[in-house]
Symmetry: C3
Subunit: 348 residues, 3 copies
């Protein structure tokens, strides 16, 4: 938290929107409507929570045009309160500065090239030939393999591992425990034993990608695994070798994407979903949580495959029939035939 | 293993229960009925395994009252053999001591306060303003962010990461690869690009919580993510921002809990289950493995949502009908109408 | 990439197969048919992709007997093009050498025994009594607990953690973020509080096992967790305490295997599948992705339990009926009885 206070009209001058109510109201931090204090500015992103405007103790709020008159609190009225809030919060909560320079305990290959403005933390290991761009922040304990290229302003939280030769664009963020470029799962059976297939592709990651904690992205078997620009990955996602994820796709936690799947742009994939290998998913596809995609999706739209839950007792009764749906269908067909025989004049 | 031997009557004097058979029998370690040797004490937690009493080579056993006469082996009879065993095993298998002090290779912020009795291992990094309580054990390679507060007797296994400002209570255990306080998955779309929403809440963890290997718990977006006292988390669980987990809830491996979900106290959640965002789960709810909870659960009880498996061949036949259940239901309705037309006198 | 070029006839002399076309053709690297250049050798593992032979720019290809005449490119004809390719690729892409010796920053217990030919990287910590076999490569930041035994030629990528007393055979590979031997999830409820059950078993891993990034294998509660020789584990798999996995079984990413499950030899388990605790799975069982195995499988074969996905709209219609399958079945039964009453002469 910056601690500095800002007037509403100064905020509007910077980020747009129009001020209603006391334009001189001062705030120093963002908060939820529910927990806001007088020095906070909250936001209403969805009119259905409008009732909270009556009870919030926020000093000011950000609202959409439709809610401009739903409160008398000092307010900024704008088109998209949620993205307005995102930008204001980023302004009020800058990342802590990281001093340029290489910690004495870091182990850096002689042929690595590290920008003077980069921060390299304690116990970081950087391999031969690696390139670290301007303003990168490599926190303690990261491992950067030989030949890795990081663009500018990349931020690696503690204990990220990047295997050799992978490439990250500008402004990439990787959280702790992320592993980029481990070997894909490539094996061939011969005479009762698995042979390992060397994984000689790379991982190539575009600009503005964020990768959540403990997510893994495997290197390609022969060609590269590719994450296009603006992709956002939550925690504990597994991305197999030779997957390609289109620009600006967002994927929630615990999703698994099998080898050589291709995901379009601007897709949204819910938590714990899965996508089988070699499938193709079109642009603008939404996939529900916990859904396995077992064949390619050629058209944009929303797709689900969630088994609905119930009490154990009901579940047992219903699930038992699931194992015999085929027989149930046969019995319906038989009844229809018997009915038709009884009633031969009927058209159907 | 302590190597020290104990008489059954001495054990009963310490942990309760009554001794039957040779009270002078000596044991030095716990074991399963199946693999026990003469110097081991085994336990029978479930009468249905009673037959194993006849074949075990254990020197003594722990049994419930109902099984008191099911063997002639030296035995301790008690109310809850499983918890008795837990306590006895903890006594016989104390954790290895960790010498107080800070390893020379650790990098500790000048304003961090570390109890003299704490152990700080090799290559640990501790940020400014962090507080480490008495008897904490911080194993090699952990990263403790600025402003983090650890209570007393916290045990962090190698390579745990705790981001800035998070708070852990007393006796918390976190296994290797755990990441606490990484950014939650908060993004807002504006003009075709995702904006990052700063995650300015913390993770606050109560006393006596254990966290399994590679589990991730994200910091709150605005308010905190909260894990109440006595919660037990297995490996590879993902807990999103602003989740609250009630006291003494136990969660098995690979579960994903989406943002702002609230889980009650004393719940038990099976492996690979999922809970969608913003839902509320009552106290004492049991959720089966592999079940997605897609709406709030207001009443205690056991809930399931598992698609039953079968041979591929049967699965193909049954799953095909699943896609047309709606039509099957229509056909049944039509048959009922036709039947009613044939038989107009019937009440139904 | 080695950079060295090889003639087809030299390759065949080394790995077998017969050469058709120009035996003096030279290649230096493997590639896919699609992206190959003139100095690459590609492979056709499945005749259905035969059309790609017409367009590839590869300098040579590996094909099966059935495809021997499907191209005029210089080619090696063999029984199993995929395993042939695996071996050739391993030959062309040897692992980078790792210099023998212990990095100055490593912290090694006085009683640990480390082979002279082993590589111990920066910031590695090795506990008392550990044994590291010949030609092991322990990359930076690994943590090897007290009493751990590694066979020969074990390769640990950066930031692997192995808890005390675990045993790994020869040629084991563990990728970054792997945690071997963390405590299993053993708790006993007593008077409203969970007691921790000490996990005093080990993890014992056979020869030639590979373990993917961020996979976790818990130590046994009393007896050991066992991974037999030749098992191949992808990323982000969770293996609970006292599991046994039979030799040469291959498991894809994100699978969870609950405590004390026993998996046979030569099984293949798809991504994100789950296996409940204490179950037994026979040898040569194939389990589809996203399938929960809720009871033991006694016979080899292929098994599935995937809820099929559809558009959200269709899904809603069909899933609603799932909650009432029991009632649908009752209505069918009732119709059958009514039909039988109408038609008493019918045999059925």
């Amino acid at each position: 938290m910056s601690g500095i206070v800002y007037r509403l009209d100064d905020i509007a001058a910077r980020f747009g929107g129009r001020v209603l109510g006391n334009a001189a109201a001062q705030v120093s931090q963002v908060a939820t409507l529910d927990s806001a204090q007088e020095n906070n500015i909250a936001f209403l992103a969805n009119s259905k929570y409008r009732a909270q405007l009556a009870t919030t103790r926020a000093g000011a709020v950000i609202v959409a045009e439709a809610d401009a008159e739903a409160t008398e609190l000092p307010r900024i009225v704008c088109d998209n309160p949620y993205s307005y809030f995102a930008k204001l919060s980023a302004f009020l909560n800058p990342l802590p500065p990281a001093a340029a320079g290489i910690h004495a305990s870091a182990v850096v290959g002689k042929t690595a090239r590290i920008a003077a403005s980069a921060h390299v933390g304690a116990n970081v290991v950087i391999g031969e030939g690696a390139q670290i761009g301007a303003h990168c922040v490599i926190r303690e304990g990261c491992s950067i393999g030989a030949g890795v290229v990081l663009g500018e302003n990349v931020r690696l939280y503690p204990r990220v591992v990047i295997y050799h030769d992978c490439v990250l664009g500008n402004n990439v963020i990787a959280h702790s425990g992320v592993v980029i470029g481990a070997d894909g799962f490539g094996i061939a059976m011969e005479e009762g034993r698995w042979l390992k297939i060397p994984q000689i592709g790379r991982v190539v990651i575009g600009n503005d990608v964020e990768i959540g904690a403990n997510t893994t992205i495997d290197r390609g078997a022969l060609d590269d695994t590719v994450i296009e620009e603006g992709v956002k990955l939550d925690n504990q996602i597994q991305i197999a070798h030779n997957v390609r994820i289109g620009a600006h796709t967002a994927i929630a936690g615990c999703v698994g994407i099998a080898g050589s799947a291709t995901i379009g742009k601007y897709c949204r994939i819910g938590g714990s979903a899965g996508i089988l290998g070699h499938l193709q998913i079109a642009d603008y596809v939404e996939i529900a949580s916990f859904t396995l995609i077992g064949k390619s999706i050629r058209e944009r739209g929303s797709y689900s495959g969630i088994f609905p839950f119930s009490s154990n007792q009901e579940w047992r009764k219903n699930a038992a029939h699931l194992r015999h749906l085929d027989k149930l269908a046969d019995r319906i067909k038989q009844l229809e035939q018997q009915m038709a025989a009884l009633n031969p004049a009927s058209d159907k």
